[in-house]
Symmetry: D2
Subunit: 278 residues, 4 copies
């Protein structure tokens, strides 16, 4: 049986840990791991507790409510696989890595479908026997394309969307349908090189390190809460294409780590920042 | 006023966090940071709580004892500077970095004296107006040298000894006088390259990464609990001397990080491993 | 048309670069990249020159011979894909990454077949429509298993063998059939944790960094020339299984980088070390 | 005797390496290390050759001119220490590290003086028995302060200026007096967080990695050619002050590495990028 997790977020006040752990102790909950954090800049309290065994969850939640502020965000989640839809374009490396991990049960997620505006990755997805939807994005038909994507996505009722090098900017209207539920891999160390062709920007700037950033998508381009960042050293012998190639390996690893964290309910949002209990 | 820290270590059992936080809450302790960890392989519980303001510490400790197993190791430490003696030999980089941080109040420690088996670093220490003891280590007089060092060290009654490239092996008898109180910087990524001339070993082995390890000294050479490790990439153009030079920068940074962690009471021992609340 | 590479290795002596570049210049070879290195500890000279366009290669080689010591190792290689056989066991991550890169033409190699002592990875290999040979390794039949593997490998006449987590030790007799042609991914930062269960060793030692090493296989276990090493930080919250999971991502990236370097003829051996022109 | 270096930069054309090495070979120059690089985006050729022993340098240079394009930038430099002036403000860590390395002969530079707009670091500089000039920067007197600094700097006729956390923006007029001769340490991973208070910017953005950048100063703020960049991981538990503290250790190491590269004549400029022969 999968362990379960209790997630608490609320305004900070004295006695919260004592109160919450008291409920769990009295109810006989077998805690196997516990993290808490207070963000002092916002006075927000975050707690993630992993536990084993069976308890009367409704009763636990009710009693927890009694020791928490009324506005508290309280969730009792199973660590069951999340339902996800993956959006890709023409680049295969992130999608392939996600498909491989999925097929060996490493992702804690069920991939419901892959959507792409190109057909190049259809054979890859078919190898893994998953639905592939080619939704073309013709010039001047951005709205129509997005409506098609939205309809397709919603037909699967996913918990999360994963943009595995989708390379298109989603409209605020689209993003707002999935608040804190769209994860993107950006091909640079944000906030450096926002926008398109970051490896050409990085080459022109002559950086000595390049990186990748996995983040939640918000209304503002490439400005959403960051989950994972990682970098590798480069030097003057690398042209823009070399940087892109080196970057792809980092992107793949960064996205995989971010998905693991999100799908195991280890990531809280705190304004535009993330609190991560790893 | 410096914050104070409560440190608890004991056999794990249900309800510990609830019990401890209950005492702190009822006594009006203003907790500003809290970490706990259970090592499942040994069923040991570790907790570090930082708090502000004044409390009746004797009463808090007494009440905490009542909710903890009898064997619990319970300390209420101020974050006041630790008293330390630094041992060095001929290499200056780690010692100089420690002296600079000390002189600008960054070390959370008071350097009582520097001891060396050579005179080379005397002028450096004198710049910082600290006692420098040259205790010569003649061939065949290892025991006598160590006795001299021991006498000198004990005259200062330090909390910790820092081996800033001391380059000599201390006897078990010496080490046992200062259990978990001697911090060494080893010039390799342990457990690779135990012992002497690790950069020559690293060159001969053709490694592509070198590192440094800060660890507590125990009876067994280079086998004590590790506090901090860090590495940097190298390549075939580096000879053993280049590796040593690159390594010195890492050693300096690794030792500084380890001392900060230890002197802020952030490091617990768990068998031969460390639990670090950073 | 793929660029071609000239590889030179010989005893060092004055005038080598001048002599070699003179031949290339007079023959109108269009050099697009050039690296040379002298290993002073062995007085060996290494040079790798990449060039475009067509030249009379036999004439260039003959003229080069006239300016080099007689013992010089001189090769004019195309950057055409290498022919490889991959050996795996039960772990999928390295094999899957290699298969994906291969299927998208990123590997500069042609995978002729995959051999495994288990059947677990057969479905993965079949997705990519490559031959999969299950050669069972029964207890007490090590020699027979190895003979089966050797026969199978040799039937493909590969340039290189890739051990993608093969997890078995090959005999010196086997290894000597493929000198500097077997690439292994070792699940630790060598020379730390040679041999089996390195993540358990790493956990027991309490290291703060784990890594992976891609190296050529020689007679001595885990002691062959290192091609790529990389590490990631870990902490006390990681148990041996967590370390293994974190390690797998590094292994995958390290093996991919090593294969790129070797298959693009960027790696020279220099005793037990490698010279890498990246 | 210090080795000497030959530095060549010119428009690329076939036969350059052959021509240059021919001159060196015929003149009996004992080459101990050689690097060359062609930047294809600009068709520029760069070469750095280190050699031992005595040669008729005027004759070598004259003969080299005959095999190079007329516009070639050709220098025969000794690896003698560079003459430098260091500018600082109130932060000690970078200055102290530079002073320590200088006092142990590790910097390949002679520090002629330290200039600061504050007095805080005077005692530190005096420990190392170097001239310290306090040039106050009153509000509204930026031009006057800069004129004072310029006069003071020029009185020393330095090869390079090192901004060791100088924290003030120099005017284009000042910068143009020292083209490619002012080295700055910037407290972030450029081009992220240009300008003031980068650690507050980094905290607000919620980055998971912070870094430091050593670069040449040009007219445009924080946009000059980058020499060294390095990063360290951070997490949600770090507030802006923690980020700054972690960042200081990286700044110190990054500046030290950049100074070593520049003072050993290993850095060429190529437009707004650097070519580094390490």
């Amino acid at each position: 049986m999968k362990p379960r997790v209790l997630l608490v977020e609320c305004q900070d006040r004295p006695g919260l840990v004592h109160g919450i752990t008291g409920v769990l102790f009295r109810r006989g909950v077998n805690v196997v791991g516990n993290h808490e954090f207070v963000d002092r800049s916002r006075q927000r309290f975050f707690m993630r507790t992993e536990f084993d065994g069976s308890v009367d969850e409704a009763a636990v939640l009710a009693e927890l409510r009694s020791v928490l502020p009324p506005e508290a965000d309280l969730r009792l989640a199973s660590l069951a696989p999340k339902r996800i839809v993956v959006l890709a374009s023409k680049e295969h490396h992130c999608l392939a890595d996600v498909l491989v991990r999925h097929s060996f049960g490493e992702l804690n997620a069920e991939i419901l479908a892959v959507i792409s505006n190109h057909t190049r990755l259809a054979p890859l997805v078919q190898k893994f026997e998953l639905p592939f939807h080619h939704l073309e994005a013709r010039d001047g038909e951005r709205e129509r394309h997005e409506a098609d994507v939205l309809q397709c996505v919603e037909s699967y009722r996913p918990d999360y969307l994963v943009l595995a090098k989708y390379m298109r900017i989603l409209s605020p209207a689209f993003v707002q349908r999935f608040p804190a539920r769209i994860i993107n891999i950006h091909h640079s160390f944000l906030p450096a090189f926002v926008g398109a062709r970051p490896y050409h920007q990085a080459f022109a700037r002559g950086v000595k390190v390049i990186g990748a950033t996995a983040h939640f998508v918000t209304d503002e381009l490439d400005a959403g809460p960051i989950v994972v960042q990682q970098v590798i050293p480069v030097d003057h012998t690398h042209d823009a294409e070399d940087l892109a190639q080196a970057g792809r390996d980092v992107e793949q690893m960064v996205l995989a780590r971010a998905l693991r964290l999100v799908f195991e309910d280890r990531v809280f949002l705190c304004g535009n920042r993330t609190v991560i209990f790893d």
